[in-house]
């Protein structure tokens, strides 16, 4: 998109006047006054022709960035696509995902070209959100200045919602006859509770080019994030397991694994990360572990977590999985069906870390029912956000 104009010559905005509860704007319309101004400007132009030369301000898609469709009136239209606060899934073309501790930043890059300004004039660019998302708690527009690499979340900051205090995109003193790359991002924060939102939303950003020598705005452009449909916010859930301090190592795999190593019915020599707890008929080897729930775009601010033994040990009377809230117990058998799943919590907050204790009961049985060797079982954890 290329947009060239000189607003100060065509129409002069007076300060906004607020009166009687109404906000009014006004322009100079008296023919005589306008004529005088035009003559005065023309005289100045004749004396200083370089200053009268208008710059060219172009906003365009960057290589590797999202595609923009040029519209009428100096607009660019596009969209980031489908997003969620946990950064799950493949982002839209030209969008990079940076998961953060409180949401996810979806970013892209675009180009700004300023040319045609008289030497030594330079042009700076600012941005503000002229039409914000209707769900501002779910979608936040952010900008990265052209002076930055725009590859990390720290390069971005929220775009001003105020025309009077816009966000610098190409900082003063600006550029001339040059193309620079800037960043545009949508931060999708974890957003549960009353302000939660899933669906499609749109926004518009105004970019203003200013000749920093005479401090005059010489062009504007608008980026519309509404094409073809706008930005789509999804709900998202994630439940991961992690090793607890002093506990067994939990290895990510399909999905997670944990090895109690060598165990025996007497509790001798528990391995690193294990403690033993006396139990009738054997011993319980115990380890702490951590549940890490995360979810966004739900009305509820808490989730429930349950677990059950979805694949039992091949020797289910010798090895039994048990659960406890504390290291010392009590340890209770974990249910072996989805219908009898053991409830771990009914109030897991988003992005919390819940330490729990997993016990492996080892029977001291001898004789025909005894077993020596390796065995394995699978626990299925289910987090549900009501």
């Amino acid at each position: 998109m290329r947009f060239r104009e000189h607003e100060d010559l065509r129409r002069t905005h007076l300060p906004v006047v607020k009166s009687g509860g109404k906000v009014c704007g006004a322009s100079i319309r008296r023919p005589l006054s306008a004529l005088l101004i035009i003559l005065a400007v023309a005289a100045i132009a004749l004396n200083k022709p370089a200053e009268a030369q208008n710059g060219t301000f172009t906003v365009s898609a960057a290589p590797g960035g999202i595609a923009f469709a040029a519209g009428g009136g100096g607009t660019l239209s596009g969209q980031f696509g489908t997003m969620n606060a946990l950064g799950i899934g493949t982002p839209g073309t030209g969008v990079t995902v940076i998961p953060l501790s409180n949401g996810t930043l979806y970013l892209t890059k675009y180009q700004i070209t300023i040319s045609g300004l008289p030497n030594p004039h330079r042009g700076a660019v600012t941005a503000f959100v002229n039409s914000n998302f209707t769900h501002p708690a779910a979608l936040i527009l952010e900008s990265c200045p052209s002076s930055s690499t725009c590859n990390a979340s720290g390069n971005f900051s929220a775009i001003s919602l105020l025309a009077a205090a816009p966000t610098a995109v190409v900082a003063a003193p600006g550029i001339t006859d040059q193309t620079v790359t800037a960043g545009l991002a949508i931060f999708v924060p974890d957003n549960n509770g009353a302000s939660s939102f899933t669906g499609v939303d749109t926004a518009r950003i105004t970019l203003t080019a200013t000749d920093t020598t005479n401090n005059k705005n010489f062009a504007t452009a608008e980026i519309r994030l509404d094409t073809p449909v706008g930005e789509t916010v999804q709900s998202a859930v994630r439940l991961t397991l992690a090793s607890a301090t002093g506990g067994l190592t939990i290895t990510p795999g399909a999905d997670f694994s944990m090895n109690f190593g060598f165990v025996n019915g007497l509790g001798f020599n528990p391995g690193a990360g294990l403690t033993t707890v006396a139990a009738a008929g054997g011993v319980v080897y115990s380890t702490p572990y951590v549940l890490q729930p995360a979810f966004s775009a739900f009305r509820s601010t808490t989730a429930t977590i349950k677990t059950f033994v979805s694949t039992t040990f091949a020797h289910p009377t010798v090895l039994i999985l048990r659960d406890a809230a504390a290291s010392a117990g009590p340890y209770n058998n974990i249910g072996t069906t989805a219908g009898t799943a053991t409830q771990i919590t009914t109030a897991a907050p988003d992005r919390s870390s819940i330490t729990r204790f997993l016990g492996l009961f080892v029977s001291n049985t001898n004789g025909a029912a005894a077993f020596q060797g390796s065995d394995s079982a699978t626990l299925t954890f289910t987090m549900t956000v009501p």
Binding site: V237, D255, G282, G367, A370, A377, V385
Partner: protein, 207 residues
Amino acid sequence: MKKYFTIFTLGMMALSTAAFAGTTATNTNAVSPTLQISATIQSAVQLTLSTGTAAVTHCAVTPTGGTPDYTMNFGTVDALGINAGNCNKFAPTTPGTTNAIYWSDYNLNPVFTSQTTANNTITAQVTTDFAAPNNIFIVRDSANSSTVPAAVTDFAAVSTATPDPIVTNAASGSTQTRFIGVAVTPANGPGVTGAKSATVTFTLTVQ
């Protein structure tokens, strides 16, 4: 054309409602990661000793936490049975000819798990005998039972060469009471007095 593009886009959005497997999902309210738990069961055996409770008096079995595992002290003894010792004694049948025996009860506590059989034995053997001139030696109840011995003849020397079976097929976790002591011979000569010690090794075998 624009109409068809919009329809296509909406169609793709509908398809995108499919949840991701494993630890994450979108457009749904539940996720179910799995945790595989592995373990290797080993068989285990344990044999502990403790102070007896069957006889009139008991010499304490004291765990050391090191080597040897336990100690028992019969106190001051003599071949005529004059000294009381720390627990029980049988005076010699023929003083100056036969031996005096100072003895105590003690408990054996065998425990074993994940064994394919419950058959087991506990043996005792003197692995470090008293020093020469060997006028004192280790004895045990010859009946290999929990019956309290009544006379010197109820004791036999503990072998220094081969393990002596003292318990057979005890239940895991049970307490087995036995009796052990020292026989003091009436031998005379150099080195027959003073503090002396020996070591008995108990072995639990499940097979």
